[in-house]
């Protein structure tokens, strides 16, 4: 008996294997469908990435190694454009001007943090001030640049009129090589203040109150509380703003093209992107312009990687 009738376990095992096989088949079929859908969903961003990033990037790298006027055919010239770039004094001058504009980043961030700290307190007109500081962010850059151009007018400008009230004889901002870059930095800081302040405000308000209470109990001064609690806790926002501001600052163009369309006195305001644009569209040197743009892109990438490395040492969580 025992030998003729299969054990219940064995029958169960045989059946379960068949069931499992059928189930696997059904699963495979179902997964095939799911996989197809998954692939389709994934394809959209991948195709977008290839079409709008990888291809333009590859095209740019190739274009940078060609003699091309942007209209006709390209002629491969290897690294000639890069050699020319190294020997071009105007490239270095424009790069220096672009780097100089970055001075505005720490200034802007310091003012933004101060404003955020002020606006996080319960003061009268807090909403009004928040709105006022944000208005430049949403204003047209072209319109803002024209207004600032007027404001900087050496004779009738609002800036010099204001300085005159406190007895300062203001410079001819946009016509003086010494003051033209600071003038543009002041405008850029003013324009970006609202955005940085908004992010800092959110970060400041997210700092747990218990930390301040504990510090107060330990007798920490206001400055200690700022340096030991607030500053470290808003550091991720600072890092984000520094990175994005460096990228944005490296692409400064519109305000320069409007306020100093010939690159300013002694070429003192010409940024690298302005020079790239001029070479590409005015001087029909698209290949050379692309090489300069790529070098700028790589420099920004290197600076950002360094920032990431430095920042890693101070990794902090605000969760």
């Amino acid at each position: 008996m025992a030998t003729t009738a299969p054990p219940a376990d064995a029958t169960a095992t045989r059946w379960s294997k068949e069931d499992a096989k059928a189930a696997r088949k059904a699963n495979r079929k179902r997964h095939r469908n799911e996989n197809a859908w998954a692939a389709a969903f994934m394809a959209a961003p991948v195709i977008g990435w290839v079409a709008f990033l990888l291809f333009p990037m590859g095209f740019s790298i190739y274009a940078s190694m060609t003699n091309w006027n942007g209209l006709g055919n390209m002629t491969f010239v290897g690294f000639d454009n890069y050699v020319r770039l190294v020997q071009d004094p105007y490239f270095w001058k424009a790069l220096w001007n672009t780097v100089f504009y970055m001075i505005g980043i720490p200034i802007g961030l310091a003012i933004s943090l101060a404003l955020a700290l002020a606006l996080s307190r319960k003061i009268r007109g807090r909403t009004f001030f928040r709105t006022v500081y944000y208005i430049p962010v949403i204003s047209s850059l072209a319109a803002v640049a024209i207004l600032w151009q007027w404001a900087y007018n050496g004779d009738f400008g609002l800036v010099n009129q204001a300085l005159d009230l406190v007895g300062i004889d203001g410079p001819n901002w946009l016509m003086d090589p010494t003051w033209s870059k600071p003038a543009l930095i002041i405008m850029a800081v003013w324009k970006g203040l609202g955005y940085s302040t908004l992010l800092y405000l959110a970060a400041v308000q997210a700092v747990p109150r218990s930390l301040y209470e504990a510090a107060a109990l330990d007798g920490a001064s206001g400055w200690k509380r700022f340096t030991k609690i607030t500053w470290p806790m808003v550091q991720p926002v600072t890092f984000f703003l520094v990175v994005t501001n460096i990228i944005g600052g490296s692409m400064i163009f519109t305000e320069i093209n409007i306020m100093t369309p010939t690159g300013g006195p002694s070429w003192s305001t010409a940024s690298l992107v302005w020079y790239v644009w001029n070479q590409a569209f005015r001087n029909l040197q698209m290949g050379y312009a692309t090489a300069m743009a790529l070098v700028l892109g790589i420099l920004v990438l290197i600076v950002t990687i360094i920032q990431f490395r430095i920042n890693r040492a101070n990794d902090f969580s605000i969760d």
Partner: protein, 470 residues
């Protein structure tokens, strides 16, 4: 924190890629909102891309209505902002969406011709039509691809003028009357010495408060010095467009004389006050004696003269020359209307370009609204100068504009070369000569010439390469 880092890194990569990709000129912001610039495909469809103000649009709508009625064509107009036009056109060309008919700057023509973008209109425009357009209006668009020569009659014609723009000179009639000065002649140019003497008479402290209220002149070196340099017999470039000639004694003398108007003679507002906007505002406020007057200024100047007749009135005069008997000249600009070489309806497109350039009704609208002087010689020198121009409020000496268009006008240096980079370079550091006087004109020019020559040589090399590449 990790999310923040990821976002920052993503922003970096996208930023770097965008920097590189944007310089290739293929894309623009809001690309999906851009109008389709492609040329028409049906037998009677044309696309016309241009830039300009309301009056340009009105004039062209009139011309296009007449053109459509006469030919049965359908014309799609695409108007763009002036400062974005060149970029958009180049993007349209790179994207193979070239409009059938479009504006072209004469200074950029060589590259476009070598790339096979522009159609040769020589066989499409009859000689009588060409003869009735100012010579410069057609010369600006002639180009010999074999020799690289520009502006020569008989060479292939790659465009027709939308306009010719004479950059004239003028004076404040009210200020002259106020100071009891004799008005300058409309027929004979002042000499440099006479000009300085008059400018000194115009530079006065009217109310005795120790501050000057009026100045002789206030000229922007980038746009106003050409006529004076040419008036002294100097030039930026040799006739064959191969040699930079700014290091000649006559050039140095003329530039130094121009700088000394402010630095030595004191007949212009001080360097701090001499920002372009300021001198323009001062001219409009009636504080400047001599100032440029061009057709596109007329409407604004007329409004000012009507609103403030006690301080502002104006008329046109010839530019001063170094010595009595010298020939005066000034620069003459132009914007062209070109046809795509790959237009499916090239002949019809050439017909439209001719219409837009020479249609009498359109020309009347543009001239009546003080946008430009007429392109048509017979109309400009006949009915317009005799009746239409005075009726529309053009100044008494408007004939000087026609004189510039006919014979006194010259293209800006840089227009006849493949790129203007060599000429643009001239202005870098010019403030050291004209504003603060820290450098003499001779020293500045001696240092400039080699740099400009190198860029000019480079321009010719680029032209040869463009020609070889096609």
């Amino acid at each position: 924190m990790r999310k923040m880092k990821t976002a920052a890194f993503a922003a970096t990569v996208v930023g770097a890629l965008t920097l590189a990709a944007c310089s290739s000129g293929g894309s623009s912001d809001n690309a999906s909102e851009e109008p389709d610039t492609s040329g028409g495909t049906a037998a009677n469809e044309l696309t016309f891309m241009f830039r300009g103000g309301d009056y340009d649009k009105l004039a062209y709508e009139t011309a296009i209505d007449a053109f459509e009625a006469e030919t049965g064509a359908k014309v799609k107009m695409i108007i763009t902002d002036a400062d974005q036009y060149a970029t958009k056109l180049q993007a349209a060309i790179a994207g193979n969406k070239v409009p059938d008919v479009f504006y072209i700057e004469p200074g950029k023509m060589m590259g476009y011709v070598y790339a096979g973008v522009l159609a040769d209109l020589t066989d499409y425009v009859d000689q009588a039509t060409i003869d009735n357009i100012w010579d410069f209006g057609t010369q600006a668009y002639r180009f010999n691809t074999e020799t690289g020569a520009r502006g020569q009659d008989g060479d292939p014609l790659y465009g027709l003028p939308k306009d010719v723009g004479p950059f004239g000179f003028g004076y404040n009639t009210v200020l002259f009357d106020k100071l009891g000065l004799e008005h300058p002649s409309a027929d004979e140019p002042l000499t440099f010495d006479e000009f300085v003497a008059l400018a000194k008479d115009l530079t006065v402290d009217m109310d005795g408060d120790g501050e000057l209220d009026h100045w002789g002149t206030g000229l922007n070196v980038t746009w106003n010095s050409q006529a004076f340099i040419w008036g002294a017999g100097a030039d930026w470039i040799s006739e064959d467009q191969k040699t930079v000639t700014v290091d000649t004694p006559e050039f140095a003398d003329a530039l130094q004389w121009f700088a000394d108007l402010g630095l030595v003679e004191g007949v212009t507002p001080s360097a701090e006050q001499a920002q372009t906007l300021d001198t323009y505002q001062r001219w409009m406020a009636g504080e400047i004696g001599f100032f440029p007057v061009a057709p596109w200024d007329i409407a604004t100047y007329n409004e000012k003269a009507a609103a403030d007749p006690e301080n502002f009135g104006y008329d046109v005069i010839p530019y001063p020359v170094a010595n009595e008997g010298d020939d005066w000249s000034t620069w003459l600009g132009s914007l062209g209307i070109a046809v795509s070489e790959n237009s499916a309806n090239k002949e019809l497109a050439a017909q439209l370009a001719t219409y837009l350039s020479t249609d009498l009704e359109a020309q009347k609208i543009l001239a009546e609204n003080k946008v430009q002087i007429p392109n048509l010689i017979d109309y400009a020198t006949g009915e317009w100068i005799e009746t239409d121009a005075p009726a529309a409020g053009w100044p008494a000496n408007t004939k000087i504009f026609l004189e510039i268009a006919e014979s006194k006008g010259r293209p800006l240096p840089g227009i006849w070369t493949y790129t203007p980079e060599w000429y643009d370079n001239f202005w870098i550091g010019i403030e050291n000569v004209v504003d603060n006087g820290s450098q003499t004109a001779a020293d500045f020019l001696a240092a400039k010439q080699p740099e400009m020559q190198m860029l000019l040589d480079q321009s010719w090399v680029s032209a040869d390469q463009a020609k070889a590449q096609g």
